[in-house]
């Protein structure tokens, strides 16, 4: 597995535009269940992640995301179900399985009075890296997370974003084929958040299977190939963003600003991908199934009909509405 840089990367391609090719299955969860007394925290959760795929567990706080990934990471005994890592059963006592996983907890699990290098060295030893290998890999990870210059400073002197990056760096030390990130952008500034998202995308691009939990819809939409919507311990729906939106049955909306009253041209209305079209307050509103695919043809048809288009806006139904549809409550409840 290669490494990923944190420098500016091209925007992550929209997941739905990438043709899916079957790849090696890295993680398979089957019917996971966990209870705490009478509380059923996780109930019958199943999903798989392939190499190079980013799978998002999207749900509000208390939905069961952290409990699920704790069982997958092998730090919490499950009450039922099983976890397979590359086809091999995995649990709290599976040393092989734990070597395959890079676990990045939601907490900043770092020694604040040690430096970044010392923290990395400590976890490198826990992961069984030899002295020389650890030194080389630590240098590599420090470069990757942009902390080479501050490697000797105590972590307690770092900004929140730097700590978050180091938190992720620790999870990457041993080059795991499966990276588990539990809300890695919680409490970081937009710049650091963007850098983290880009680096995660780059890692997936290099073949790492990523399990990403978040309650930020925008992150899940931007980053994840597939998303599992979890609430009250159960996966309510799973699929690509488009598949999930399809569950709700909403259409994408292309809004063309014309600058004056404008009837809907026939050329536009008769396009096969257009489900509905209308005009409203100097705008043409065109409802399509996939705005990204349809936009060039819609624009061409409007121009051919002599419509002067001054601005274009695309409105896609988002996961918020999906979540609301599935659970009857808003995502950030």
């Amino acid at each position: 597995m290669g490494t990923a840089g944190l420098g500016p990367l091209p925007c992550v391609p929209p997941p739905d535009q990438t043709a899916r090719v079957p790849r090696a299955e890295i993680l398979k969860c089957q019917n996971l269940r966990k209870t705490f007394g009478d509380l059923v925290a996780v109930d019958d959760v199943s999903f798989t992640i392939e190499a190079g795929e980013t799978y998002g567990l999207l749900g509000p706080n208390g939905a069961g995301k952290t409990t699920t990934i704790s069982m997958i990471a092998g730090i919490l005994e499950r009450d039922g179900g099983q976890v397979l890592i590359s086809g091999r059963p995995h649990g709290t006592t599976s040393r092989w399985g734990k070597k395959q996983i890079g676990y990045v907890p939601q907490d900043l699990a770092l020694y604040p009075d040690l430096s970044a290098r010392e923290n990395l060295r400590f976890f490198a030893r826990l992961h069984g890296l030899g002295r020389a290998e650890a030194r080389a890999r630590i240098d590599e990870v420090l470069r990757m997370i942009g902390l080479t210059e501050r490697a000797k400073d105590p972590v307690k002197e770092y900004s929140g974003g730097m700590k978050r990056r180091l938190n992720i760096g620790v999870g990457l030390l041993h080059r795991p084929p499966l990276l588990i990130l539990d809300e890695p952008t919680a409490g970081v500034d937009p710049q650091s958040r963007n850098a983290i998202l880009e680096s995660v995308a780059a890692l997936a691009g290099e073949g790492v299977a990523v399990l990403y939990t978040t309650h930020y819809m925008e992150e899940a939409e931007r980053l994840c190939d597939r998303i599992g919507i979890i609430d009250l311990g159960r996966i309510r729906a799973e699929g690509t963003r488009r598949e999930l939106v399809g569950l709700v049955g909403e259409l994408d909306r292309i809004s063309l600003t014309t600058g004056g009253a404008q009837a809907v041209p026939k050329e536009l209305e008769t396009l096969p991908e257009v489900r509905k079209a209308g005009s409203h307050e100097g705008r043409l509103e065109v409802m399509v199934e996939d705005a990204r695919k349809s936009l060039p043809r819609v624009l061409a048809a409007a121009t051919d009909a002599g419509v002067v288009v001054r601005a274009v806006e695309v409105h896609e139904p988002n996961l918020e509405s999906v979540f609301l549809h599935l659970t009857g409550k808003a995502l950030r409840d």
Binding site: A73, G74, R95, W96, K98, I101, Y103, P105, D113, R125
Partner: protein, 378 residues
């Protein structure tokens, strides 16, 4: 396991306040206690006069009595001032006419100045005894008065007369032999106090490790929960041992403190460090916040030290309090050091103390590991 233990040790010294409390403070306390009682408890007696031969003989006898430390002072006024201000336990004013009065068989008075203290009365009795002994020939000469004074005194000094003799014999060993210095006593006490105290207050780092999610992250690495528990336990013991070794080596180099049979002392320090480490493990696993750990650590560290006899000699305790003291590991460790130092014991002589300390350690580590394991996998 070594990595986890090592990181605990590194973190101990990353906190700069620990450098003072672990490295400097115990040594300073040993120095203060050692110097405070360093004169062997011999009270200081200020003496004026004593320049004439007979007076000098008296002063020399006082000096060699071993019951006081004789200090020359200029005059009676200075002597009184020294007593009043506590620089001297008492003062003895020998008049200028001391020799002349004795040789003329006329009474002479020595003034003894002291504060109203029991120690002063004891010192007065000791001076009286020495004076009686030294002036015996002069009194015999005064009784005879047949010849010159000097000749009579010389002859009286040579006379061996029948009388009552008290023969002294000693059995066993002194509770605190003269070879044991005040530094030895202070160092032993401070070693036990600080080893336990540092261990317990250091338990806060274990709580921080849990609170920050580091324990769970370690558990996510390919290491067993047993390894993590052993690593944390070894870390606690390393902290305790480091504190103990700093005191042992530091007091040895700086104040010449001896610890008795090296093997026995090493075993005792290791056993006591295991107890301290076990207690820290339990506190670190059972409590929730670092503040709680520091509070409980101070309370237990100082409380058990006081009860266990590291703040006041256990020899002064009542029988009941001695029994209570032996509910603490400190008292057993003190017994062990007493055996090594006062009676030149070896490791074989302190096996009972080592056994009790090992039992303390096993119980504490067992409970601590159980609690920490539950916290790890919960």
């Amino acid at each position: 396991m070594i990595a986890i233990a090592w990181v605990n040790l590194v973190r101990l010294f990353r906190d700069r306040t620990n450098i003072f409390f672990v490295l400097i403070f115990p040594i300073v306390l040993i120095m203060v206690f050692g110097l405070s009682f360093g004169s062997g408890f011999a009270p200081r007696l200020g003496v004026t006069g004593g320049t004439t031969p007979l007076a000098a003989e008296l002063v020399a006898a006082l000096e060699t009595s071993g019951r006081m430390q004789v200090v020359r002072v200029g005059d009676a006024e200075e002597a009184r001032d020294g007593v009043e201000r506590g620089r001297l336990a008492a003062a003895l004013i020998i008049p200028e006419n001391y020799d002349r009065a004795l040789s003329r068989y006329t009474p002479v008075t020595l003034s003894f100045i002291s504060r109203q203290e029991p120690d002063a009365l004891q010192l007065g009795a000791a001076i009286r005894a020495v004076t009686d002994q030294v002036t015996m020939p002069a009194r015999a000469a005064a009784y005879v008065r047949d010849g010159s004074f000097d000749e009579l005194v010389r002859r009286a000094g040579q006379v061996s007369v029948p009388g009552i003799t008290v023969r002294f014999s000693a059995t066993g060993t002194a509770a605190i032999p003269r070879s044991i210095t005040s530094f030895d006593i202070a160092a032993t006490s401070q070693l036990l106090l600080f080893t336990f105290l540092t261990s317990l207050t250091g338990a806060a780092t274990l709580i921080e490790t849990r609170r920050l999610g580091l324990s769970r992250r370690m558990y996510a690495a390919p290491v067993s929960s047993r390894t993590i528990l052993l690593g944390e336990a070894a870390g606690r013991v390393c902290v305790a041992l480091t504190q103990a070794l700093i005191i042992m080596v530091g007091s040895g180099l700086l104040f010449g403190v001896r610890w008795g049979d090296p093997l026995g002392a090493g075993a005792l320090v290791l056993a006591f460090s295991l107890v301290g480490g076990g207690a820290a493990m339990l506190v670190g696993a059972a409590l929730r916040t670092e503040q709680q750990a520091v509070g409980v650590g101070l309370l237990l560290g100082l409380g058990l030290a006081a009860i266990g006899g590291t703040m006041a000699p256990i020899d002064f305790f009542s029988e009941t309090m001695r029994r209570v003291a032996h509910l603490t590991p400190h008292a057993w460790a003190l017994d062990g050091f007493a055996e090594l130092l006062r009676r030149n014991g070896t490791i074989a002589d302190i096996l009972p103390q080592l056994g009790v300390l090992a039992a303390f350690a096993a119980a504490l580590f067992g409970l601590g590991a159980w609690r920490l394991r539950a916290a790890l996998t919960r």
